[in-house]
Amino acid sequence: MKIALSGIDSRHPAARPDSVPAIRNVSVAIKEGEQIAVIGASGSGKTTLLHVIACALKPSAGHLNLGERDPWSLPTRELQALRGRLFLAPQTPPLPPRQRVVTAVLAGRLPQQSFIASVKSLFYPSDIPGAEMALARFDIAEKLFDRVDRLSGGERQRVGLARALASNASLFLVDEPLSALDPTRSKQAIASLTEAAKERGATLVCTLHQVETALASFPRIIGMKDGALAFDLPATQVTREMLHALYANKLDELNAPMPMSDELARPAAPAVMHCR
């Protein structure tokens, strides 16, 4: 899918209306089938950028085009259909703890399924081989029938990526896919991801904290700084100085691994009192 952003500003609904937008005046054009890494210090607006492209966050200014159409002027039905063709993989794998891996992976197919088919799939998984194939790409096919809460953080992250591959989206928006993976696994996961996107001609936008991996695996790099575009260059033209400027006074982040964002602490269940 082709993407065009011009002069996009966006702010979170929870943010104060008079605050500076989380991303400001971002203009990017992405061709169909392109693979792009977005880098930048934490808080620089990478996640926000992905959410804007995913139509999860409405821009407060500027123009967004997805596949030649402005999603926010579409009728709800068509907007939902468009959303079904893209895949947003949040940073923390969005998997309910007691769900089984196979169900979690097949949830990637929901937009293309009828309601009846999705309910049936809860009782007997609709496409076990498909789910297994997607998991095998990330080397965790043997966990197919395990429960998500019995997996390690890294395994959960790979299940989240397998869900992306199980879906037949034409645009992958992947947020920090490597934050819980060791270097070897990281390399393998990124390879699987880029390879799969290439096979199906899908566009891939991936935010990354591992600058070296980004430069090695992606032909085009976007640098974000304080909510604005710092650079948008082929990987070969990104210099050491640019990176230093990008991570100015956050140099530790340039080399140190990203701290895994802990899953939000569950609010305690409300205390219930009964009369007997």
Partner: protein, 286 residues
């Protein structure tokens, strides 16, 4: 997806046989088991929803419900409802007050923290058995529902609020006693035991060590129970313990829909007020 790409990633390819869901048989089994259990249950409860829509039951129902609007708002009737509502609240309050008087000694006797002999190891036989007895009394009182106590007392002292107050007092006395003891035992016993070690009496240790530590929780639990007692007291009216429930029972037996509607609305409002008052109090105490 090309087969080539599949074999590129390690550990795949060979394991890719079409699998069956291992949980499937279990699911089928539990589904059938649920039906096998549900069937006799539905038979035992005479679960026949279509009965509700047979003309012989639908007609009186509709007539009764039709009477609901408008509710009866005649001044004399409203005055009676107000008086009975107060009686319901009063039965609950008086019942809780007596329950409190029953519960406090039961709780104080039954908690281990206040044992002097337990300070130096095992509790002596006599105090241990007294504690055990207090606990048993609390559990026995609590395990008989207030409605059954009310049936008993209506036969002993006759119809009227006395039976309701006593029924609430006994059941809630047992409940409060048990829960007070649990709350008092759950905290850190250090302050209390050190008072006891320094030679203060059990009641002194209770008032200076145990009570201040737990007073907020104890109060909020009691207030919550008071709210429950209001519902109970309305229900006890149905067996003749006075109050709103008794009037409702009478009106229902006469199929007086308008009267029932008024009383239901008043009762819902009463529960709502008690609910918000107790929620507010618990928040203020926390």
């Amino acid at each position: 997806m090309t087969p080539n790409s599949m074999t590129n990633s390690p550990g795949s390819g060979t394991t890719l046989a079409t699998q069956r869901d291992p949980a499937w048989m279990g699911r089928v089994f539990w589904f059938l088991a649920a039906i096998a259990i549900a069937w006799p249950m539905l038979v035992a409860t005479e679960f026949k929803p279509w009965v509700l829509f047979e003309p012989s039951s639908l007609k009186p129902t509709l007539k009764f419900l039709g009477d609901f609007v408008p509710p009866k708002v005649e001044p004399g009737f409203l005055a009676m409802v107000a008086k009975e509502t107060w009686r319901t609240v009063a039965i609950a309050t008086a019942g809780i007050a007596i329950a409190f008087l029953i519960a406090v000694p039961l709780a104080i006797i039954s908690i281990r923290v206040l044992s002097v002999s337990a300070l130096t190891g095992r509790m002596n036989l006599l105090p241990a058995s007294v504690r055990y007895a207090a606990r048993t009394i609390a559990i026995l009182l609590r395990s008989v529902p207030e409605l059954i106590w009310a049936l008993v007392f209506v036969r002993v002292v006759g119809l009227g609020p006395t039976a309701g107050v006593l029924a609430i007092a006994l059941t809630y006395g047992g409940m409060l006693g048990k829960v007070y003891a649990e709350i008092l035992e759950s905290g850190e016993p250090h302050a209390t035991t050190s008072l006891l070690r320094n030679g203060s009496g059990r009641l002194q240790a209770f008032f200076y060590g145990l009570l201040p530590q737990n007073s907020a929780e104890l109060t909020s639990y009691t207030v919550y129970r008071w709210e429950c007692a209001i519902r109970s007291s309305a229900v006890l009216g149905f067996v003749g313990a006075g109050g709103l429930g008794q009037q409702m029972d009478t009106s229902m037996k006469m199929f007086a829909g308008a009267e029932v509607a008024t009383m239901l609305l008043v009762f819902i409002a009463l529960v709502w007020i008690a609910d918000s008052a107790s929620a507010w109090l618990r928040k203020a105490l926390a």
